[in-house]
């Protein structure tokens, strides 16, 4: 390859990366410019241009990809400013799949599911980036009150809902069914076994549920900005996830006898996946709150930040 061939190859590679409408025009200009540059060098060095001289000249222009990038801004499929959120969503999906696989066996998660999840994220983030480029003013920033804003009405609603559903439902399932369905549905399906009624598993679960409701009560009075309450919530969720998972499998009395929460076999079979799913949701919720706690913006500077 002589100097001309080298330059022609470079021009071809640059032009191939440009939109078709601009390709020939830029290529023609680059050819002329490179020829001028090479002539200038040859004159300055007092010798005929050769391949080495052409290669050295092209170094100054960068690789064809870099040169093409300067002629035509290629929009990124995912905005660089979205990279952080993309990674978080991708990892979040991986964690959900990991927890699902952990609870239901590795075979329960399709091996291609993570790739599908990544594909969905790419499409969503690419659409967001495209929309932002198309309508720059429409997705502008809006101020938000932040996670520590007191929401007493929401906390009251959460406390009431926790007392009615999980607490009441768990403490007296038969009464709960009678009240909820006005006695129209038989409650024998949720009858508890004697072993379960007095089990420590039931007492601990009930205590954790009541503490959850109490935590919402504390939030009404004190707000949600206290670190102690956030950690208490994480611990409660972790504890509840463990207890729910215990409910999904046969439990053991101190004397070594196996027992289940419900009397009827059909209720045991039906409730096991439900307990597993609720346990999984508590794990995910605890992990999410842990992540939020870890990534929390703190009001005071960090110690090494002060030293710098």
């Amino acid at each position: 390859m002589n100097a001309h061939d080298v330059m022609e190859s470079w021009v071809r590679d640059v032009a191939g990366r440009l939109p078709r409408a601009r390709r020939n025009d830029v290529a023609c200009e680059l050819r002329a410019l490179l020829a001028d540059e090479l002539d200038g060098r040859a004159r300055a060095e007092g010798r005929a241009p050769d391949r080495a001289m052409a290669m050295d000249l092209l170094k100054g222009f960068g690789t064809p990809a870099q040169a093409a990038g300067r002629y035509h801004d290629q929009p990124a499929i995912i905005d660089p400013t979205d990279s952080h959120h993309f990674v978080i969503w991708a990892l979040g999906g991986a964690v959900v799949m990991g927890v699902h696989g952990l609870l239901n066996g590795p075979g329960s998660v399709d091996q291609g599911l993570f790739l599908i999840w990544l594909g969905i994220l790419v499409v969503i983030f690419a659409a967001m980036a495209w929309w932002r480029r198309r309508r720059p003013g429409q997705m502008h920033w809006k101020p938000s009150p932040g996670p520590d804003r007191p929401r007493p009405a929401l906390a009251l609603l959460a406390m009431t809902a926790t007392l009615v559903f999980p607490v009441f439902m768990y403490a007296a399932p038969q009464t709960f069914v009678q009240v909820m369905f006005l006695g129209q549905i038989a409650d024998s399906g949720v009858a508890l076994t004697e072993a379960f009624r007095g089990s420590w598993q039931r007492i601990v679960t009930l205590a954790l549920l009541v503490l959850s409701a109490a935590l919402y009560g504390a939030e009404i009075r004190l707000g949600s900005g206290r670190a102690g309450m956030r950690w208490a919530s994480i611990v409660l969720q972790a504890g509840l996830s463990l207890m729910m998972l215990l409910h999904a499998a046969p439990m053991i009395t101190p004397s070594g006898e196996s027992f289940s929460p419900f009397v009827l076999d059909a209720a045991i079979t039906t409730s096991a996946p439900f307990f597993r799913a609720v346990g999984g949701l508590f794990i995910l919720s605890a992990l999410y709150d842990l992540f939020r706690q870890w990534s929390r913006v703190r009001p005071e500077p960090e110690a090494d930040g002060l030293a710098r």
């Binding site: 830029v26 023609c28 200009e29 680059l30 050819r31 002329a32 410019l33 020829a35 001028d36 540059e37 200038g40 100054g60 222009f61 960068g62 870099q66 040169a67 300067r70 002629y71």
Partner: protein, 111 residues
């Protein structure tokens, strides 16, 4: 520290690149002749930066260009558009104001 100083100088030069290029395009120039004109005036610009910059300024409407095929090889000539001329005047004024401000800052004059 020395490297940082050089990076700072590069930033400084990059900031005035557009103004330098516009200032030399009151009359028609093709890429290589423009580069030589800038070198002759102690304003060397990397070729990989200059030539795409001409296209970008043209896309912004500041330059007009046309192929001249009377000579071999054919060359694309660039010149200030009316909009580019107005931009040159505005940028020149901005630059001179900035130089005055910077001189005051560097000389430590009271406001």
């Amino acid at each position: 520290m020395v490297e940082r100083d050089f990076a700072g100088l590069s930033e400084l030069r990059r900031g005035v690149l557009v103004l330098a290029v516009l200032s030399q395009l009151r009359g028609p120039q093709y890429g290589y002749s423009l580069k030589q004109a800038l070198i002759d005036r102690d304003m060397p610009i990397e070729e990989g930066t200059l030539y795409p910059l001409l296209r970008r300024l043209e896309a912004q409407g500041l330059l007009a260009s046309a192929w001249n095929t009377d000579h071999a090889p054919p060359r694309r000539y660039y010149q200030l558009s009316p909009q580019g001329l107005a931009a040159l005047e505005a940028l020149s004024k901005g630059w001179r104001d900035q130089v005055r401000v910077m001189d005051r800052l560097l000389d430590g004059e009271a406001p």
